[in-house]
Chain length 302, copies 2
C-alpha cells in the first residue's frame, strides 16, 4: 500500500487534475475533502490521446477497483488530448459545466469542459482547469475578482458564482524566460528574498504603462547599485505582477480571491496591498480544484 492520506475513509469521487506538465489524482470524500493524493510528471502536453488511460491506470488503477466515479479537469480535455471537452461560453456557472463522457472506456470517467470568452463572435481568451477552481469557491452572491496566479495568470470576473469574463497574463512564463534568456537575468537569483524590492517593482509597474521600458529599469537599478544582485529577481517579479494589477484599474473596494500555491498567494496579496486592494482572500489551489470537482460532480450526476 502506498503511503499518505486517510486511505480507510470512503472516497465518493476520484478527482483528476491533468495539467500541461503534471498529473494529480485525488480520492475525494463527499463535500470535496481530499483523502489521498498521487502525483506524476506525465503532464498532458507530452501525451498522445491513446496514452492517457494507461498512465492513469499506472498511477492510480487500484483506486478504480470499486467503481467510484471519476472526473477530470485541465488540459486532458483539450483538442488532440484525451478527449476534447469543447469550451463553454461565458457566462459560465456550475449548471453550464456539464462534463463530457469519455465513451468507450469501461470505467465511467467524465471530463470538465474549459471556458472560452468571445467578443463579437471572435475568440478572445480560454481557460482549462481554472473554471473548476472557481466552482470550488463557496457560493456567494454579488461580484468578485478571482485570480489564479502562475505561469499564465488569469483574472476572472465572477458574478453570482458564474464566470463573466476573464483575461490571461503571461506573467510566470515571461518571468522564467526573462531570467534565463535576457541581459536582465545576469547574476539573477531566486525571488522570495527581498520583499521591499518586490514592492518597489510593483509600485514602478503601477506607475508606468510601458512595461518593456520599465523592465530595463532592472538593469539601471543594478548599474546604479540601488538594487543588490540578490534582490533583482524580486524586483522583476514585482514589475510583472504589478503590470497585471495595473491592468485591473483602481481597487474601488473590490473583493479579490487568490487561488494558487501559498507562496504565490502571499506575493500577490502583498502586491494587491500596494495597489490599495483591501478585501483580499486566499485559497490553496489543489483545495479549490478538489472542491470544484466535487461540486461539478454533484451538480451533474445522473
Amino acid at each position: 500500500m502506498r503511503p499518505g492520506g486517510d486511505v480507510s475513509a470512503r472516497a465518493e469521487l476520484i478527482g483528476i487534475d491533468w495539467g500541461t506538465s503534471n498529473l494529480r489524482v485525488m480520492r475525494i470524500a463527499g463535500g470535496g475533502e481530499v483523502l489521498d493524493v498521487r502525483s506524476d510528471p506525465r503532464g498532458a502536453a507530452r501525451l498522445a490521446p491513446g496514452h492517457f488511460s494507461d498512465v492513469l491506470h499506472d498511477v492510480a488503477g487500484d483506486w478504480f477497483d470499486d467503481g467510484t466515479p471519476a472526473l477530470v479537469c485541465g488540459m486532458a480535455g483539450a483538442r488532440g488530448k484525451w478527449r476534447e471537452a469543447a469550451y463553454r461560453p461565458c457566462p459560465a456557472g456550475l449548471a453550464d459545466l456539464s462534463p463530457v463522457c469519455l465513451g468507450n472506456d469501461s470505467q465511467a470517467i467524465l471530463i470538465v469542459p474549459g471556458v472560452a470568452l468571445s467578443q463579437d463572435g471572435a475568440l478572445e481568451d480560454v481557460m482549462r482547469g481554472e473554471e473548476t477552481q472557481v466552482m470550488g469557491l463557496a457560493d456567494a452572491p454579488g461580484r468578485r475578482l478571482v485570480v489564479t496566479p502562475g505561469t499564465h495568470s488569469k483574472w476572472i470576473r465572477v458574478e453570482d458564482n458564474a464566470i463573466q469574463d476573464f483575461r490571461t497574463f503571461m506573467t510566470g512564463d515571461l518571468f522564467a524566460a526573462i531570467r534565463t534568456e535576457t541581459v536582465l537575468g545576469q547574476d539573477m537569483g531566486n525571488p522570495g528574498i527581498d520583499m521591499d524590492a518586490f514592492q518597489d517593482g510593483v509600485s514602478r509597474a503601477l506607475a508606468d504603462d510601458a512595461l518593456t521600458a520599465a523592465l530595463f529599469s532592472v538593469r539601471v537599478e543594478r548599474l546604479s547599485d540601488r538594487l543588490a544582485a540578490t534582490s533583482t529577481a524580486d524586483y522583476l517579479s514585482g514589475l510583472l505582477i504589478g503590470a497585471e494589477i495595473r491592468a485591473q484599474g483602481p481597487a474601488d473596494g473590490r473583493s479579490v480571491t487568490l487561488i494558487g500555491a501559498p507562496a504565490l498567494n502571499t506575493r500577490y496579496a502583498a502586491a494587491l496591498a500596494v495597489a490599495g486592494f483591501e478585501d483580499v482572500h486566499t485559497l490553496d489551489g489543489p483545495t479549490a480544484t478538489a472542491r470544484g470537482l466535487w461540486r461539478i460532480h454533484e451538480a451533474h450526476r445522473r
Copy 2:
C-alpha cells in the same frame, strides 16, 4: 592584403564600434565616409580590460602603422571594460561628448563617453554607442525623435542636435526570449514573412496597455486558426514594437528618424505608419556610427 573597400584612399580616422557582441573597425575618410571595414565576433562582453588592445591589434593592427588617430564608441568604454569613459549627463550635444584618452597606449586612441539620463539626481537610463549615431545625423534645428531599434531599442528626444532625454525598451531581447522559452514560441518561425500579421500585432498593442495579456493573444489567435503558424513571429514582433510606439503617445506630426539595420528600419517604419507617424526618415546604423565618430573626432581634435 585583405579584400574589400577602397584601400588606396587615405583614411583620416580609424573608427572602432565595439559593441557587446561584436567589433567593427573602419577606415574613415574626412567627412565620415567608410573606406574599409573589418568585423570580429570578440565583443566587449567577454573581454577583460587587458585584452582589448591585443584583439584590436589582431583585427586591424596594420591600419595603425601610419599614426592615423583612432576613436572608439560602444561598450568598450563601460566600467570594467577597456577603460571607463564616464557617462555624460543630458542634455548632451557634440561639444559635451569629449572623448577620453586611453593614456598608457602608445597609439593615440580615444573613447567616446556614453550618456546618462537622471531625474532628481537618480539614474534613470543609460546609452553607449547610440549617442555617436545621433551625432552622425545632419545638423538640424528643432525637435525630432530618434529611434535605434534592436535588442534594447532606444527612443531619443533630440532638440537642436542635443540629446534631451531617452528611454530604453527591451524589445529585441524579449522577442528572442519569448520565442525560445515560452509557450508562445511553439512552432514559431522567423519574422519577415507576413506584413499583415505584423500590422495586426502593432494595432493590437496600440489599443491595449496590458502587454503581458496582449501577448497571450498570440496563443488565442493560433487556437482559433486566425493566425497561421508561419505568421506568429510577425504578429509577436508587431505586438512588441507596437508597445514601444504606444508609449510615445499620439504622433502629433512629430518627425521620427530610424537608425538601424535596413530590415529593422523597414519594420519600424511600417509600425509607425500604423500609429499615424507620417514624417519618418531612415539611416543605416553603421553609416550613422561612422559619421558620428568623424564628427566627434572633428569637434574635439587638438
